[in-house]
Symmetry: C2
Subunit: 405 residues, 2 copies
Amino acid sequence: MPTATRLETISGGVTRPQGFRAAGVSAGIKVKGLDLALLVSDGPATAAAVFTTNRAQAAPVLVSIDHLARSGGVARAVVVNSGCANACTGEAGLAVAKGMAAETARALGCPAEQVLVASTGVIGVELELSKIERALPQAMGALGADQGSQAAQAIMTTDPFPKEAAVRFNTGGTADATIGGMAKGSGMIEPMMATMLGFITTDALVPQPLLQRALRAAVNDTFNAITVDGECSTNDCVMLLANGASGVTVDSSSYDAFLEALRAVCLKLALGIVRGGEGATKLITVTVTGSASAVEARRAAKAIANSLLVKTAIHGGDPNWGRLIAVAGRAGVEFELSRAAVSIGSIALFAGGRPHDENTPAVAAYLQGTDIDVSVDLGAGTATSTVWTCDLSAEYVKINAEYRT
Amino acid sequence: MPTATRLETISGGVTRPQGFRAAGVSAGIKVKGLDLALLVSDGPATAAAVFTTNRAQAAPVLVSIDHLARSGGVARAVVVNSGCANACTGEAGLAVAKGMAAETARALGCPAEQVLVASTGVIGVELELSKIERALPQAMGALGADQGSQAAQAIMTTDPFPKEAAVRFNTGGTADATIGGMAKGSGMIEPMMATMLGFITTDALVPQPLLQRALRAAVNDTFNAITVDGECSTNDCVMLLANGASGVTVDSSSYDAFLEALRAVCLKLALGIVRGGEGATKLITVTVTGSASAVEARRAAKAIANSLLVKTAIHGGDPNWGRLIAVAGRAGVEFELSRAAVSIGSIALFAGGRPHDENTPAVAAYLQGTDIDVSVDLGAGTATSTVWTCDLSAEYVKINAEYRT
């Protein structure tokens, strides 16, 4: 795969690419704090998006899908609220989501279908459009190229910290282009309050089909390869706006370089979500090798990453390789015990059909760290997959048992 | 379905049916307590069994499958140890499992293939045959028709209490027959120490094909319909021995009555496992209705029962119906939000496309109990499924994070 001739991680988020401004204000949807984010491209941008596969798609998801279809993949702005998911809210909820877009479009002087909408927070509670209408003028006034971090804060719910990422890259031409993004967690989904949202901008000019293809590919190995609690929400979405302000055009010859840069932004945001998962104390990288197929490798890696027994063992610093073998064996994939292997932190615990208990103390020491690599070889082929998760702590139970009390 | 003309729950377990004796002794495999169980039929019994689908099947599972095949489904005894799963132990482990059966067979004077073997405990640790050889004479001497509860204790690992069940039933003839059973948890599987094992006896005479068919049917709606943590171990098995000592014969005309009685024993044992799940404080019955098919109903019910967010919400007494809708929506089944419904304790929380928040206080009060019914209508058909699970507590994390430390 041809790569970017230069790929450089830089600070900032959605307003690092040229021609984007953002704002984060308080609309009174949450009890306190910023809860309304506005992201605006100075000119019409090409837009791509991926949405939750949950069959109970929330109103903002349905409206954004409709707007992308009607605009032919063109967007001027994204308006996002936290504190209320506007999900399971019926026709009234749809009217609110449409109203959010219409009000924003009116303020910007663009067609309503060029505004995308997202919400995150409690399911089944009505979102008050009047609160958003009152706060929108303030958000319009606050719009700035230096306000990306305010927007990143306004989309947070239980997230312990905001997630921003940006890269500068060059595809071989004279000018550089930039990709920036922001995201929130803090679960793969916690549908009451922690919907996963991602918003990415770039000042490259990218034809819509190529933009959508790149987004799908990047999301597949990043946002779709993380799990905090195995839940997929009613509101998940990742949106990508490309406005061409850099003068850099992406075509099929520079696609791979663009994808590499986009993947870097998505990965940083996705890992931020895992690191900030509810109750998380460790980031766990699960790599499955020796699989009969890529699909099976991903399935096994996800099964391991969602295993309560694996997540609690790593939380407790226990080099419990038997739990990893047992999950691999029940994951519904080709698995050959006599050729299987388990290592943690590149230290073998099981290989060649036998335990390596002599390495237990070294692995126990390694598990005291906060970034944990786990590898399982299925002994059944050559395909691989990597996914990311976090440990499971008593704090996770506390957060989710006591949320509304 | 024709039912038993009488079906009566009675006390006791595996030795309630005539012609069965049991013992539970200490072989020194666990640090302390009973850890070797022996279950013997006075004469050869017809045997049926179901085993884990985990691809890393433990040595005792492989040996028992082999013995059932070679004996043509006849067994005299089952020998079980706790404290060591004899899993991932290679050829040496197979030799130990075979040795357990051979030693028991020698003491009973029967062919080795008429002895079934089961183990539960830590994965990847060698089981010392010498300990079992030393304890077997003691177990043989202790065998008694009043020792079923000793055997039920000897198969426990982290189980908070032993699980026994028995029923007396009549299929229309003059004599009654009895079914008894014992089981251990305390997870659907915790492969380090909580493998699920079930052992059932009956003094009815049942042809092997009918016995196997009844066991599969009963297990499907009981043991296979429970989950504590979504894990399937390397050692799971349920074995059923029918020795005919009651003189009651089961044939196709009385099959349904026998199945009803068998299901009652399996259900009581299975619910005991869930109630005694690691860290559990509540037994949760999840019923899915309105599904497009039975397979999808089961899939949705299992997804709900394994959802960390559902289990923590119920642990915290939170009437959080949005989490139930979100899981149903992501479960990969037909789901129609506008016709879906959620109720807890038969009290509606979501129906006809809208929340019933007026019922929240009543449901919150109901959730203070220890037996919780949750119903979700998918709005997509007429099929139903019921599964059982427990809540997820901080104590679960503590047990599994600190197990080996």
